[in-house]
């Protein structure tokens, strides 16, 4: 068997180069297929990661804790007390990277020109800077100084719609604990530049300032936490739920179903793409190999006439195909590795900022090698390619030896 392979391998390799053009075309087809799968896989994973990080870092965090019923009716009537000692201990666990509390209530914001619906968010600026990317997105002015800061930070889009600006005043209105409406004038001290949906909706002020404005006595709407490691998400949520059984503890997956679906279906997208690429490659491989087999009918007849058994003809052609597809797969892997390496500083999509904003992704996508994918996908393509090429190989093995003689006459 080993001796047989020793003879077959060089023969198969030389046979491949009898028609360099056809071999070249097949190699290119396989290499581009493998490259596209590996590159697409790396890109999709990077895009999903960027999209996830961008969304989580904006306001969502790794998870949130609310009073029961708040998610169905996020109003002043469904607030909760600040975390007790038990919950605080759970939030100080090593798995939790950071956490903060917020007051989040629906309201309206009014300028001298316009009144718009808004979500008023009272934050602790110091803790918020460790949780959210918004403090780092100030386009004009400044972010809030402290929890007592009774200034307002508005989004660019909202500022445009309100026809207001830095140094001007806006009025925030919301229902208070008494059941009436509270309204208060706030100085616009900062304008942030995030995605349009966030900019249009969220108005930030100090948490203590917002509690005073709403007549609260320390109540909050949410606790937001971020994790050290994403892997610890389920365990941490369970631990927090155990520490606060009366509260509603949810991971980001429950809070943003679209993001969660995208995250979990990413593997499916990749495999669908793999299927499409493979189908195209299979057509190319089968066509070229069938052509090769037809062209060499006389030779296979000769081999059979010389006494080569059908299974050895099958093995010989299969070895040729395995070598051909294998080299194509290796080329594709090298191409993909070089491509990913060449964009390791990130692919800048700032020219498509608005589109990237719509899909909530950072403007720069950083691709990374996926070692598992570099083994799994090329291996799968190689094996499937050999399987598909068994068809032409089988035709070759079924060639009748008399063909060799018949073509002589």
């Amino acid at each position: 068997m080993i001796d047989g392979l020793k003879t077959m391998l060089p023969l198969a390799w030389r046979n491949l180069w009898r028609n360099p053009r056809r071999t070249g075309i097949t190699l290119i087809v396989v290499a581009i297929g493998v490259w596209s799968i590996l590159f697409f896989n790396a890109f999709m994973i990077a895009w999903a990661k960027s999209s996830k990080e961008t969304t989580l870092q904006l306001l969502l965090g790794s998870g949130q804790i609310h009073a029961e019923g708040y998610m169905d009716d996020p109003s002043i009537e469904t607030l909760m007390d600040p975390p007790d000692q038990n919950l605080t201990s759970a939030l100080e666990a090593p798995a939790v990277g950071d956490w903060t509390t917020r007051v989040v209530v629906p309201g309206v914001v009014q300028s001298e020109y316009k009144t718009l619906p808004a979500t008023i968010v009272g934050v602790d600026p110091t803790a918020e800077a460790r949780i959210s990317s918004i403090p780092g997105k100030i386009a004009e002015g400044r972010y809030l100084n402290s929890s007592d800061d009774d200034s307002a930070v508005l989004g660019l889009h909202m500022v445009e719609r309100l026809k207001t600006g830095l140094g001007r005043r806006v009025i925030l209105m919301s229902q208070n604990t008494e059941g009436g409406m509270s309204e208060q004038s706030f100085d616009v001290v900062g304008i942030y530049d995030a995605d349009k949906a966030t900019e249009s909706l969220y108005v930030f002020t100090g948490r203590a300032a917002s509690q005073m404005f709403l007549g609260l006595e320390g109540e909050i709407a949410q606790i937001v936490f971020v994790l050290q490691e994403e892997m610890a998400l389920e365990d941490t949520v369970a631990a927090l739920a155990e520490a606060a059984p009366a509260l509603d503890v949810r991971s980001w997956k429950d809070l943003n179903l679209f993001l969660a679906s995208m995250d979990s279906y990413m593997g499916v997208f990749i495999h669908v793409w793999l299927g499409i690429v493979f189908a195209l490659m299979a057509i190319g491989i089968v066509n070229t190999q069938l052509m090769a087999v037809f062209e060499r009918t006389q030779e296979f007849g000769l081999l059979r006439a010389l006494g080569m058994k059908p299974r050895r003809v099958l093995m010989m052609v299969t070895i040729e195909n395995a070598l051909l597809i294998g080299v194509g797969v290796l080329l594709g892997m090298v191409l993909a590795a070089v491509t990913i390496w060449s964009v390791s500083d990130g692919i800048d999509f700032s020219a498509f900022a608005r589109a990237m904003e719509m899909v909530q992704t950072g403007e720069i996508i950083y691709l990374d090698y996926e070692p598992d994918a570099f083994i799994l996908f090329p291996g799968l393509i190689w094996l499937l390619g050999i399987l598909v090429a068994l068809w032409p190989a089988r035709r070759a093995s079924k060639c009748r030896p008399v063909e060799a003689m018949r073509r002589e006459t």
Binding site: D3, G4, K6, T7, L11, R14, N15, W17, R18, Q298, E299, L302, R304, A305, L306, G307, M308, K309, P310, R312, R400, P401, V402, A404, M405, R406, E408, T409
Partner: protein, 230 residues
């Protein structure tokens, strides 16, 4: 002495009904060990079909072929492959060498199929190359050899496995006079020295003149079968 090849009542018909072509009609033939026999006749007389039947490359419509006492009817494709590998050597009109292999590798290939060890393969191939007068050309590929040289490699390939019989179909058809005569001389000398049996399908008078037995075919039948003193 028992014949190496026996054909009894051998018939082959291609196609059916009005389109049927009777390539062989009730052929009886014995080839004896050490024979160097030519199979002659006009095109379509059934020479190649008869060679195909004896070479286990095609099946007769009726009748029986035995090679070295083994009846070919009813044996599997795999057993037929073994028979061709061990008992029959082929020489074709167009040499039919594997273009990507050198002369030595082409010859060794048959031995490799037989499972002969690498070192023995090499020695036997080199010996065969020497025997057909191609020493020094063993590493050349067919594309770099003349027609005569390629046909010598084909003869060496046919002989290296030490077959019971060598079947040659128009071996000189693509050769010039000089190479054709050299090839005939080579087959004659191999026949004399090793007792190799040759059955040669040919139109070539030079080949017929050198044969010790001349079989003439007409319309799928053996018209005459005569031994000469050549």
């Amino acid at each position: 002495m028992d014949p190496i090849v026996t054909c009894r009542g051998l018939s082959k018909t291609f196609g059916k009904g009005e389109l049927a072509v009777h390539a062989l009609r009730d052929v009886d033939l014995d080839i004896m060990p050490g024979d160097i026999a030519t199979l002659a006749g006009p095109s379509g007389s059934g020479k190649t079909t008869l060679l195909n039947m004896i070479g286990a490359l095609d099946e007769p419509t009726s009748g029986e072929v035995s090679v070295d006492g083994l009846p070919l009817s009813g044996i599997s494709r795999s057993q037929l492959s073994d028979l061709r590998l061990s008992k029959i050597g082929f020489v074709f009109q167009s040499y039919n060498l594997i273009p990507v292999l050198s002369a030595r590798e082409n010859i060794e290939f048959v031995l490799q199929l037989q499972g002969v060890a690498a070192s023995e393969r090499h020695d036997r191939a080199m010996e065969a190359i020497k025997e057909v007068g191609l020493s020094g050309m063993e590493d050349r590929r067919p594309g770099k050899m003349s027609g005569g040289q390629q046909q010598r490699v084909a003869v060496a390939r046919a002989l290296v496995s030490r077959p019971t019989i060598v079947l040659a179909d128009e071996p000189t058809a693509n050769l010039d006079s000089k190479n054709a005569l050299e090839l005939v001389d080579l087959m004659r000398s191999l026949n004399r020295e090793h007792g190799t049996t040759f059955l040669i399908g040919t139109h070539d008078v030079r080949v017929m003149e050198q044969s010790m037995r001349h079989i003439e075919m007409v319309d799928g039948r053996i018209d005459s079968d005569a031994r000469s003193s050549a």
